[in-house]
């Protein structure tokens, strides 16, 4: 019995690793995307000022 439990825990740890790696990637991407849209909004307002 304990053999299977042991194996499943190993796999679960591997899965946890994969999951959090993907999760971290997602969060980084979202931060990047927010930063980029914020930057382009800023850029747009600056352009307005200049052409105004």
């Amino acid at each position: 019995m304990s053999d299977l439990v042991y194996a499943s825990i190993v796999i679960l740890i591997i899965w946890a690793g994969i999951f959090f790696w993907v999760f971290r990637l997602d969060r980084r991407l979202r931060r990047l995307e927010r930063a980029l849209t914020a930057r382009s909004e800023q850029g747009a307002t600056m352009a307005d000022d200049q052409s105004g």
């Binding site: 299977l4 679960l12 946890a16 999951f19 999760f23 990637l25 997602d26 991407l29 995307e33 909004e41």
Partner: protein
Amino acid sequence: MPAEKRVPAVLWWQVLIGIWIAVVIWAAFNWIPQTMNLGETSRIAWFHIPVAWICVLAFGTAMVCSIGYLRSRRLVWDDRAVAAAEIGLLFAILATISGAMWAKRAWGVFWNWDPRESSIIILLLIYGAYFALRAAVDDPERRAALAGVYNILAFITVPYLIFVVPRIMASLHPDPIINTGGEGGMDANMRMVLFAGLIGQTMFFFWIFNLGTRLRRLAREVLHE
């Protein structure tokens, strides 16, 4: 200064995927009984079968996205197609390895050249060639178009590999893999865990597919600023 929007820490479906798959893993090991007199290692089937399914799903998605590009000529579709193809290739590799491990335990040899195994190798070659093609074209639009056409052609072979080849070649070599590919000797609980695994991995696929697309798209847009 536009207000800094806070990035939410965790989204509900991420938690769902994490827990769902964890539960499936636990169930595959500890809940369902030993199967088919093939030993505990046969539990890899609960990993291998969904993986193979995701592989096909990914390549199908890649084809759809390629069609999307050819119709709209918007490069974001190409980003999607590549992301899907990459995942497909990854899962094809996983399917090959897990399949070989299963074959070794169940039938004593790592490789047999039976219809299913042959099919996965062909898929590896076909989609490996996809990336070779992409590497050989410099212009982004042209690359996307040519790769897209190839993607569609490539996926035409898939129904053949999955359905026609095993059926035709089985007449010479009836093979246990064709049966265990589906239900051979599974009870209701096993089927449920298998199905749950299928759903879990599908959700996970869409998540990393989405990530891959966003990553590619960002890279492309940032590099072209």
